[in-house]
């Protein structure tokens, strides 16, 4: 068990390095100068001095230096925010995104799973059909549409929550809900399919024939099997919810890490681009490892094959 985890962690570090190398390549290939966007025209020798100050004149040295810093979470200075280091920016914005992402996943599971179970048990009933419609909306609408709709209804018309921002509890529900909708829909669908598959299997018939009450069969026998695909989806989904939330963050003006990702790409802020990408990749990798490990605990059958 521990050996598998260690091995997966090592592979994870290798993946991180590949991501780093690729991002670095993209950053140095993109034309344009981060200092040129400043308001004043700088003389060429000043630009050259600035480039030397930030090691932009020697890509090889920069590659090694950034990597060395990254090993102890020092991502160097940011060009865009003069008085900040990249590590400080991330330390301030990452917890916001993590809170939002985890809350969204919590909502998605707490709503999506019961919806899936219920619509599978009452298959083709009115609940199942309306849930199907909801799933279609949740999957086919992007978050900037649902987010703006939620904002209009709850913040502008009903005035129950503030219109955007971060800090109080009332700032949480709307962005979390908007972020959770696609995941919720997908989880509902996964659960429904899993439940339907399991409901048709032999051990369920046996359990029913034994005379077990329906509730016990559904929750003790069927649900256990049906939840496995949901569990394996949760890892990538949680990582996605925490990293892919920059549209939601923009809609609700939440000061998360997603905005820094987009802004840094726009401003050619090298250090910040690479550090945000690295943080994203690290989160994805860690969550995948965590869920795989958890999975082999829940389902002992795949312990052998979970490499």
């Amino acid at each position: 068990m521990i050996r598998t985890i260690v091995r997966r962690l090592l592979v994870g570090f290798a993946t991180l390095f590949c991501v780093y190398a690729f991002t670095f390549l993209m950053v140095i290939v993109i034309p344009g100068n981060p200092f040129a966007s400043a308001d004043r025209n700088m003389p060429p020798e000043v630009v050259r001095a600035l480039e030397a100050r930030y090691d932009m004149d020697d890509n090889g040295a920069y590659f090694v230096q950034f990597l060395a810093g990254a090993t102890h979470l020092d991502f160097g200075p940011s060009f865009q925010y003069k008085d900040w280091t990249c590590s400080q920016i991330i330390a301030q914005s990452l917890p916001v995104s993590l809170t939002l992402g985890l809350l969204a996943m919590l909502i998605a599971v707490l709503v999506g799973v019961p919806v899936g179970v219920y619509s599978a048990v009452w298959r083709d009933g009115w609940f199942d059909l309306s849930a199907l419609g909801f799933v279609l909306i949740g999957i086919s609408l992007p978050t900037f549409v649902t987010g703006t709709m939620l904002l209009t209804v709850f913040a502008v018309h009903l005035k129950t929550v503030p219109i955007g921002g971060w800090g109080t509890v009332m700032h949480l529900p709307l962005p979390a809900l908007a972020l959770s909708l696609p995941f919720m829909a997908y989880i509902a669908r996964l659960t429904r399919v899993g439940m339907l598959d399991a409901l048709g299997s032999d051990f369920v018939r046996t359990a029913v024939a034994k005379g077990l009450p329906k509730r016990v069969v559904i929750f003790k026998h069927v649900f256990k099997v049906a939840f496995l695909p949901v569990l394996s989806y949760l890892g990538p989904a949680a990582a996605q919810a925490m990293t892919g939330s920059f549209v939601v963050e923009k809609v609700f003006s939440v000061p998360g890490i997603g905005q820094h990702f987009v802004d840094s790409a726009l401003n050619l802020d090298r250090g910040l681009i690479m550090s945000t990408v690295l943080v994203y990749a690290a989160i994805v990798i860690v969550f995948n490892i965590a869920v795989d490990t958890l999975y082999s605990f829940v389902d002992p059958r795949i312990q052998g094959s979970a490499r």
Binding site: V145, T148, L151
Partner: protein, 351 residues
């Protein structure tokens, strides 16, 4: 599949697919809606324009909106003789035409870029969906935004289909190391998170609708390639392909004339879903400011301007949201129906 039982399964594969498709009510409704959407996009200058359809001006008869519609068609502009005062830049038809002059106005008598005095008006009889922050009629902007989404959907998927089918056909037909190399290429492209890649490229390139279409086309071809590859691998072993080979047909001829027509229907399924996805991507990019640049309308940037004016004019939010949802919905309905019609078993059980 009761149609198969009632009618003898005669005719070509394409006719069979079409018959199965027609039996699916939701698919037919979706297809009708797509045709309607295409019609709106094609006749957008006739539906919403700041110039009349027919009018008498200084004793002569003019057809300004119709002329505009024809000019939108590529290579068709030469049919129209020049010299009409309505074609000149800055010609204000509403100010020039007197009130009692003969003129038939379009359904929405406002252009998508025309600025009126009432900004951020809620829906009224004059402006059916209200006006935006610059006083532009929202109905006109929605109608002309449909043009963008149709163009993006079809052109980007056209590019994707061209790349995907070529790569897939070559990989599936030739097999061997060609297949191995091309399959790895497909895998690499799949692994990139496409939205981030598109964002990165859009930062690099000028934001414009053409670049959006090209970038979406260049990133979304992998699904098409995978399906084409699978189909070609299956088809090339069938008797008719072997027979064509025995008769001395070359590889290219077999691929294009014999295999491709049979692989087309399943590819069409991925393309249909791809169009829905491309519409969403365009809306997202325009919303973020990387796509269609204001003042040119697109559903994405209309929603963006609604978002900036949320407090004062929440009425602006609903039209683009509904439009995006409906567009995506109808393409998905058609895609679903087409998938069932092509081969119910091929794509696995419907979830």
């Amino acid at each position: 599949m009761w149609t198969d039982l009632q009618q003898p399964a005669t005719g070509s594969y394409r006719q069979l697919v079409w018959r199965r498709f027609r039996a699916n009510r939701r698919g037919v409704i979706g297809l009708a809606a797509i045709v309607l959407l295409l019609g709106v996009a094609f006749f957008a200058p006739l539906i919403a324009a700041d110039q009349p359809i027919v009018c008498r001006y200084e004793g002569k008869l003019y057809f300004p909106a119709i002329v505009k519609t024809v000019r939108e068609i590529p290579f068709a502009g030469w049919v129209i003789p020049g010299g009409s005062p309505f074609g000149k830049a800055g010609f204000d038809a509403k100010a020039e035409l007197s009130d009692d002059a003969f003129a038939v106005w379009p359904l929405v008598p406002y252009g998508p870029l025309e600025i009126t005095e009432d900004a951020l008006e809620p829906p009224s009889r004059q402006h059916w969906l209200g006006t935006d922050g610059s006083g532009r009629d929202l109905t006109a902007r929605m109608v002309h935004g449909a043009v963008v989404s149709v163009k993006v959907g079809f052109i980007s998927m056209g590019i994707a289909a061209l790349i995907g089918m070529t790569v897939g056909a070559v990989a599936g037909y030739l097999g061997g190391w060609t297949d191995a190399v091309l399959s790895r290429l497909i895998e690499v492209v799949v692994c990139f998170p496409s939205f981030f890649l598109i964002l990165a490229v859009m930062v690099w390139l000028e934001p414009s609708i053409v670049n959006v279409m090209v970038v979406i086309g260049l990133t979304r071809w992998t699904g098409i390639a995978r399906f084409t590859r699978g189909e070609f691998m299956r088809l090339k072993r069938l008797d008719f392909a072997v027979a064509a080979r025995a008769l001395g047909a070359g590889s290219v001829r077999i691929m294009v004339r014999h295999l491709l027509p049979n692989a087309l229907a399943p590819v069409l399924v991925t393309v249909t879903f791809g169009i829905a996805h491309a519409i969403l991507l365009e809306a997202g990019l325009s919303w973020l400011g990387f796509g269609v640049q204001p003042p040119d309308p697109s559903w994405g940037n209309v929603l963006r301007s609604a978002y900036t004016n949320l407090r004062v004019a929440p009425h602006m939010v609903y039209p683009p949201c509904v439009a995006i949802f409906l567009a995506v919905l109808v393409y998905n309905l058609v895609g679903d129906a087409l998938r069932d019609a092509v081969d119910p078993r091929m794509f696995g059980r419907r979830r």
